[in-house]
Structures are given as C-alpha cells and as structure tokens.
C-alpha cells in the first residue's frame, strides 16, 4: 500500500467527504472527519520520512506515464507543506466538535464536515500533484469549499465576507488558469517537470512573460500578498472559529508553496528573478505588508480581525524570505510557513475558546479573561510571544534566519524592518494581554474555562511553538533541504 500513499493521501478524504454528507448525523459526520484527517496526518508523516530518506517520490496516476498522465511528485518541499496541512487538520477536527455545535445550526453540521474534508482534500491535492492543471482543479475544490465554510459563520456579515472572497478568489483562480493555458499553448504539456524542461526554449516569446504575469497576480492574490489581501480580514473575522483556525494556518501556506513551485521549479529561479525580476516586486510589497498591516492590526478592536491583519503581515515575512532568492532566505521563508501555522493556529484556536464561552472576541468583552479563562489566555500569551519572536519560541527561529538572510546580502535596512515588525507585533499582542489581565471580569457573566476538547488541541499547538522553538534542528533541516531542492543546488 505504501507505494500508493501519494494518491491515497488525497483519495481517502475525497471519498470521506460525500460519506460525511450522506450520513447526515452531526456526530457520525464528525467521526468521519476525524478518521479522514488522522489518515491524512499518518500518510503525510510517512511521505515526509520517505522523502527525507530516499529523495523525491514519483507516482503515476492510473499507471499512465508522465508527461502524458498525471503525475504526483513528493519531495522535501511539498512533503513539508502536506505535513503542515494534515497536522492542522488533525488538530482542528477534534477541536471543531464542540466549537461548531455552538456556532453552526445543527442541520448544517454534516454539510460543514463534508465541506471541511473537501477543503482539506483540495489543499493536500495542490501540494502533492506534479501537474499544473491538477493544481487548478484542487485549487477550485479547496476554494469553493472554503467559501461555503466561511458562509456558515453565524454572523450575517459572514455572507458578504464569503461573497467578497468568492469574487476575489475566482479572479485569482481564473488568472492562474489563464497562465496555465498560455503555458500549455506554447509547450503542449502540463507536467511540471516537463514544463521546466521545455519553457527555456520558448521563454523569449511574448506569451511566456504574459503567462508568468497572470500567474504572479493569481497566486499572490491567493496568498493574500499586500495589496491583494482585501478578502482576507473579513473572511477570517466572520468565519466560524474552527474554520478560521484551519484556513489561516493552511490555505495561505499552500498558496505560498504554489508560488515557490511555479517560480522556482517550473519557471526556474533564473527566469523568474534574473529575467523577470520578480524579487523587485515581491520585496517592497513584502516590506510594506510587514509594516503597514502590523500598524493596521494595532488599531483593531476585534481580536480575530487583529490576528487576520497580523497574518497578512506574517505572509510578508514569508514572501520576504523568498525574495532574497538565496538558500538562507528560502529556508527562512519555508521555515516561517511552518512556524506561522503553529502560532496562528494556536492563537485562532484560543480565540475560538473565547468565542465558545463569551460569544464574542471583541476587546471590550474580554475584560479580565486572564483570570476567568487562565489556560485559554495563557495559550494566547505564548502564541503572542511566538508571534513577536521571543527566544525559545518558533517565531524567534524564523526571525533569526530572516535577519541572517538580509545581512548576508548586506541589506541591513531590511533586517531593521523585520525587527521593527516584531515590535509592532508586541504592540498588538500586548493590547489584548492588557485587557485580559489588567481589567476586572464581570462576575455576573459567569465565564468559566473552555472545555477540554477545545483546550487540548490548542495546547498541542502551543507546546509545538515551544518545542520547535527550542529544538529547531529538525524543522530547519527540512526547510534547508526544501530550499536547496527549489534552488536546484542539490
């Protein structure tokens, strides 16, 4: 069975989704989701260990050889992304049971789990496939199910948020498919490795730069790079808590992976950055994202929205790392992909706990929660410290590599911006901490600590923030390997 793992990783959840919908019982559908996510986690870890031991795995779907059939390719770069997605999925599902019962009407819960598993399927599919059209298909699966998930939020504004995301997301997806189509016209192939071989011959034509441009805009829209991030804050704010925790830690990460795959593996670093000079666009946008979006985050009164803007800023860090086009820079970017999933997962999950007990995550309703919900707020504090980049948390490891990558190229003002971003993060995190710890809780509200099924997954991520911050050799090793593969140094 192990040789079929790359496809089973995707197929098992794909089959599980309609089963969850057909069972139509909240508990049963949930159980299916748990099974599907645990399977995905097992398969992902297995794939990662295989690729780290014996290099890239190539799997031909239905036995049709590449480049004619669809090929799944797993190397250190995407095995890593698959692990992130599956890990967050496996933690969010147990968390979702109670959280969703509170936030979504009962008759829609089975549909929720069906959409949730589909979204997971799509994200996993994007990560493992070696075929660009397949990327588009999975992108649509994950996006459409994400629109549905966001629209399930109990706030009526969730509908407009979802609609906004639908429009923007469809524009992005369309741009991506146009780009893919143009590449297909010029090369006659959709296989990534094959494209990488054939593109240099036709790179001097006008079509390929146009395809490149469409893809750039489409992908950066999906990953919410400033200024194409407009869909993200509303979507994260009004979606059900479990959905926010899942999407915030996975969807944009997968889009960042797409950026890496398209511009490093398919177009090649030489074409993307020497000829098209993409880094000259990415770096300033990333820097603006870090500063401007952190500043906006400071002024938010809704903590989920605050964290959403912080996400846009953090995506800036990842893109910044990529824009150095060096092993160190890519390592920093890829590392932050994982580290940010850990911290934002923990933070959004702790806000889900608050939502569960308080029914709101607006600051004025979080007075004194440090005393009423000590474990929840402690999780927020640790996640926040990680976001700031305090040593012994994962955030610090990311900063350590980013600043190194900047100094390596002599760009010390860029290093300064990275550190400035940390201080801005301190300001918006501390704003929440002060409300939670320095104000008195209203005893009439009778707020108590969140239930264990919400706290346990949250704390797994919190401890992950500490563990991978103290013992980062493993994650740095994988990220470095991925960076070397993408840059073709290996």
């Amino acid at each position: 069975m192990t040789q079929h793992l790359p496809v089973l990783l995707v197929v098992v959840p794909l089959v599980a989704a309609p089963i969850a919908a057909l069972l139509n019982r909240p508990r049963l559908s949930w159980a299916v989701a748990v099974g599907a996510t645990l399977w995905a986690l097992y398969a992902a870890l297995e794939l990662l260990s295989q690729t780290m031991v014996s290099g890239a795995i190539h799997y031909e779907l239905g036995g049709w050889t590449a480049p004619y059939g669809i090929e799944y390719v797993v190397d250190a770069a995407n095995a890593w992304v698959v692990v992130i997605v599956a890990l967050i999925g496996a933690l969010v599902t147990p968390y979702a049971r109670k959280s969703v019962e509170r936030e979504i009407t009962k008759d829609r819960i089975p549909l929720f789990y069906a959409a949730f598993i589909l979204c997971l399927t799509g994200l996993l599919g994007i990560a493992v496939t070696g075929d660009v059209f397949n990327v588009f298909v999975f992108l649509e699966i994950s996006s459409l199910s994400a629109y549905a998930l966001i629209a399930l939020g109990n706030d009526r504004r969730a509908l407009t948020a979802s609609f906004q995301y639908l429009i923007m997301g469809s524009v992005g997806a369309t741009f991506i498919v146009i780009g893919i189509g143009l590449m297909y016209i010029m090369t006659g192939t959709l296989n990534m490795a094959d494209l990488a071989d054939r593109l240099p011959e036709v790179a001097s034509s006008r079509t390929i730069p146009v395809a490149f441009t469409f893809l750039t805009v489409g992908i950066t829209l999906k990953l919410a790079l400033f200024p194409l991030h407009m869909w993200l804050p509303n979507a994260y704010t009004y979606a059900p808590s479990a959905v926010t925790a899942f999407i915030a830690s996975t969807a944009t990460k997968v889009a960042v992976y797409l950026l890496l795959r398209f511009f490093f593996t398919i177009f090649g670093a030489t074409f993307s950055f020497d000829v098209m000079q993409l880094d000259r666009i990415l770096m300033p946008l990333a820097l603006i994202a870090i500063v401007a979006m952190s500043l906006v985050a400071i002024y938010q009164e809704n903590v989920k929205r605050l964290l959403a803007y912080s996400s846009v800023a953090q995506i800036g860090y990842m893109v910044l790392g990529i824009s150095f086009v060096s092993v160190l820079g890519l390592t920093a970017g890829i590392l932050h992909l994982f580290n940010h999933a850990l911290m934002k997962g923990a933070l959004f999950m702790s806000m889900g706990c608050v939502m569960y007990r308080v029914g709101s995550v607006r600051l004025e309703q979080m007075n004194g929660l440090g005393r009423a919900m000590p474990w929840t707020m402690a999780a927020f504090v640790v996640g926040g410290l990680s976001l700031i980049g305090v040593p012994l948390t994962v955030g610090f490891v990311s900063k350590w590599y980013l600043v190194q990558a900047a100094l390596e190229q002599g760009m010390w003002p860029v290093a300064g911006v990275v550190l400035l971003g940390s201080l801005l993060a301190l300001m918006y995190v501390w704003k929440v901490v002060e409300v939670a710890y320095f104000r008195e809780v209203d005893p009439e509200l009778g707020i108590s600590e969140a239930p264990l099924s919400l706290l346990a997954p949250t704390w797994v991520l919190v401890l992950g923030n500490l563990y991978f911050g103290i013992n980062a050799s493993e994650s740095v090793g994988v990220a470095t390997r991925a960076a070397e593969i993408l840059l073709g140094v290996l």
């Binding site: 410290l385 700031i388 980049g389 305090v390 040593p391 012994l392 610090f396 490891v397 900063k399 350590w400 590599y401 600043v403 190194q404 100094l407 390596e408 010390w412 290093a415 300064g416 550190l419 400035l420 940390s422 201080l423 301190l426 501390w430 002060e434 710890y437 320095f438 911050g469 103290i470 013992n471 980062a472 050799s473 740095v476 090793g477």
Partner: protein
C-alpha cells in the same frame, strides 16, 4: 558528583522552588520555608562551583542544538560566577525580607509573587552561566518577561502604564539592537560562543565593529544607559522586594554583566581599545552617570531617587568595560557585587520605612531615625558604599575604576567619577541626616505610633549592611574572581 551536572542543578533548583511555591500556595509558612530552602540550596551549589573555577575548571553544560551551529549551553567562568554568587545569595536575604514586607504591607497574590520571583532568579542565573550570546539573549528575554508580572503586581492603572514602559523599552532595545548585533556577530565570526580574547578581532572594519558595539551597548536596555533608562524608574511601582532584588541586583546587573561579558569575551579588551566608538560611548556612559545623579538630586520620592542613583551607578560599570583596560574591567566587575549589596540595603531600608511608617517621601522622614535607628543606620552604611567611602566595599570598586580612567589617559572621566561621588554624598546622605538630626515639622513624636519594620525584614537589612562593611575589609573574593577574568584574557 559530576561538576557539569551541578551547573544544571543551580539552574533547576529555583524553577523547582517556583513550582513548590505554586503547590504550597495555600499555606504561607510552608511556602516561604520552601523558598528559603531552595534559595539556600541554590546558593550552596553555586558556592560549590567556586572551588572548581579557582582551580581553573570551566564547568560546561550543553543542553541541545537549537538551530544548526547554535547551542543552548552554559559555561561557568569567573565573571558569571561572580554575578551568580551575588544574585543567589541576595535571593535568600530578599526572601527573608519579603516575608516581613509582604505580610506587613498586606500585599495580595503573594503566591504569584514568590513564583515569578523564583523564575526570575533562575533566569538571572541562566544569564550568568550562558556559554554563548544566543543563550544569554534567550534568558535575558525570559528575565524581562517573567519580571513583568512582578512590576505590575498591583494590577492598577498606574502599574499597567509602568508595565508598558518597562516592557516597551526592554523589548524594543533588545529586539531592535541587541538581536541585530548578535546575528551580525554570528555572520562575521561564524560563532557566538564567549571566548577568551574575543571572537570579532579581524573580522570586519573598524567602522562595522564600532556599529556593532553601539548596537550592543544601547541594545542591552537593562544596563539603563541614557536615553534608554526610563524603564527603571517606571519599574518602581513594584513592591519593594522586587525593586530591591530585581531592579538593584538581578535585572540591572544582568544588563551590565552582559555589557562586560560582550566587552571581554566577544570583542576582547585589546580590540575594544582600538575601536572608534569606544571613547564616544564611554562619554555617553559618563553623561549618564552625571545626569542620573542630577535627577536623583531632585527626587523627593525615596524609591525614585534610588532608581536614578542606580541608573547612574550602572553606567560606572558600563564605563569600566569601555575603558578597555584591566583596571576598568576589574573595577566594573567588582562594582557589580559592591553596588548590589549597597543598593539592596538602601531599598530594604526604603521598604522598611514604607511598611512601618507608611512614608514614601524624603521630606516627610524627618526625625524618623530616632524611631527606626537600625533601618536608617543601615541606610547610612549602604550610602557610604554607593558613594565609595570607607569603611564600605564600594570604595574598592571605585578605586579601581579611577585607576582605569588614568590608565586610559582620560582624566576627564576621572573628574566625572569624582563629581558624581560628590553629588551622591549629598543626595544619599541627606536621607539619614534628616532622619536622625531633623525634627518632624509638626513636632509630633512618632515613637508611639510604630516601631522598626517586622523582624525578618530587619534581619535582612542587618545582613546586607554588615556585608557591605565586611567587603571593605575582605574584598578578596571579588578581586580574585575579576583577576581570573583578566588573567584568562591575558594568556
């Protein structure tokens, strides 16, 4: 027992003590006994390391590799041992003092207080024993964060604002400057290990190394070099034991200790002497010495006056490092110990007055000396040490610092030291003089309303005051440790 293992025990004991405090929270007497016991055990183990370090051993404990090439590791060398001895000894004394103070002053949340206190000590010891810049930075930040709940202990609006200043300045300087300097050092030298003779020599131009030195000196916000000193007066909203141990000893000394350590083991004093920025920064420290004293002069609130006095005195140590010669380093290192014992005595006394007489302002302490002779007597002795007058330990460190300025050929800096001592003479001795010789303005007799502070506090004050005098007669331990730092470098 394996000597490297002892290093781990020294760091773990306070953490264990902290959790004991949490478990025993409901029974205050047992809880405080646990803190005293762990304090005693910690000091005993640190003291046990002294013997080995004297024989030239450098106990080393490597925990794990955080990222490739950078370890979380500890190594005991003389300078770190000096700091650890001071911090762990004064922890015991302060706990004794805190028992009297916290109960006498009816403070709330005492369990949380003693918990974070123990964690802070663990952080300070980890800073003292750090084997590389990375480990030092990590625990430097741990120290910042775990003292935040202590500073904001009262959870009032005032405490919240002070906490903002505290965290804001300490985290901003450390993240924006110090971290940048550390990563830059790592890029240039390919190592961040503390090495005798330094690691930066010959790696970059004078200008780049000067820039890194500037980043280090201002990046170590805990050393309170102006203009990054505002956090220290802000931290005075904390209960007095916190001000005494953390903001006169553990936290601030972690700052100046870092500066000394970077000067000696990252730059090396030979390289330091050749850098363009060194003299310039020495004058910044000199300005802080004078300005700190001048501001202290004007403060009527006793704790605020002591805070500015601390700012001024910390820059003596920074200056010692920047003189870039052996006398400067010896004087600076000894001043860590001397100032610690002197200043903690002053804070103890200030807290005792607050608990017994409920007075914060110097102008309202007239005549209190007759009611509280031990407290104000101790204040007098502590003041002598800070000013640098015999028979108190501070005279030795000031003596060596003075020799350092002459060795560096900076007569101007010597004049600064003298002037600051004269200012100190006035602003510190004013307190006991007014307490003993002035009459209360309204002519009331305090004698019937209250007496000296609670007994545990009084014992603590007595211990530190006696130690201050003792170090005048026997400064050998500190001197010996500092000469080992220097001779190690000279080899």
């Amino acid at each position: 027992m394996d000597i490297n293992f002892v290093v781990g025990i020294c760091l773990l004991l306070p953490v264990l003590g902290a959790f004991l405090v949490l478990i025993l929270g409901s029974r205050p007497n047992v809880r405080e006994a646990a803190t005293l016991l762990t304090g005693g055990l910690t000091f005993w183990h640190v003291w046990g390391l002294l013997h080995h370090v004297r024989e030239g051993a450098r106990p080393r404990l490597e925990l794990l590799e955080i990222v490739p090439g950078v370890q979380l590791a500890f190594e005991v060398e003389p300078l770190g041992l000096l700091f650890a001895l001071v911090a762990s000894f004064l922890w015991i004394v302060t706990t004794l003092y805190a028992i009297g103070y916290m109960r006498g002053h009816h403070e709330e949340n005492q369990t949380r207080f003693f918990f974070f206190f123990a964690i802070a000590i663990a952080g300070a010891l980890a800073v003292a024993f750090s084997a590389n810049l990375f480990t030092l930075f990590a625990f430097y930040e741990v120290l910042t964060l775990c003292t935040f709940p202590l500073v904001t202990h009262h959870q009032t609006d005032e405490a919240r604002k002070a906490g903002r200043v505290y965290l804001g300045i300490l985290l901003t300087t450390s993240v924006a400057f110090q971290l940048l300097a550390i990563i830059w050092t790592w890029q240039l030298a390919d190592t961040v290990d503390f090495t005798e003779g330094g690691i930066l020599a010959g790696t970059a131009s004078n200008g780049v190394l000067s820039a890194i030195l500037i980043l280090f000196v201002f990046g170590v916000g805990k050393a309170a070099v102006m203009p990054f000193h505002r956090w220290l007066p802000a931290a005075m909203v904390a209960p007095t034991p916190v001000s005494a141990l953390l903001h006169a000893v553990a936290v601030v000394k972690a700052g100046v200790f870092t500066v000394l350590k970077v000067a000696v083991y990252v730059f090396g004093i030979d390289l330091l002497g050749t850098l363009a920025a060194t003299t310039w920064l020495a004058w910044v420290a000199a300005a802080t010495i004078i300005l700190g004293s001048l501001v202290a002069f004007q403060k009527d609130n006793l704790k605020a006056r002591l805070a500015y006095s601390t700012i001024s005195q910390l820059s003596y140590i920074v200056l010692g490092a920047l003189l870039a010669n052996e006398w400067g380093v010896i004087g600076g290192g000894m001043h860590i110990a001397m100032h610690a014992f002197g200043k903690i005595t002053l804070f103890f006394a200030a807290g005792a007055v607050l608990v017994a007489a409920h007075e914060k302002d110097i102008s309202r302490m007239h005549g209190l000396g007759r009611t509280m002779p031990i407290t104000f007597g101790a204040f007098f002795v502590g003041s002598l040490s800070i000013i640098g007058l015999p028979p108190a330990g501070g005279s030795w460190s000031k003596w060596f610092l003075g020799m350092g300025t002459l060795e560096a050929g900076q007569v101007g800096l010597l004049a600064v030291l003298m002037l600051s001592s004269l200012l100190g003479l006035y602003y510190l001795l004013e307190v006991p003089v007014k307490a003993f010789f002035f009459r209360p303005p309204d002519g009331t007799d305090h004698g019937k309303d209250f007496k000296e502070a609670p007994l545990p506090s009084l014992i603590a004050i007595g211990i530190t005051a006696l130690a201050t005098v003792g170090f005048f007669v026997w400064p050998d331990l500190w001197y010996e440790l500092m000469t080992m730092v220097i001779s190690g470098v000279a080899q």
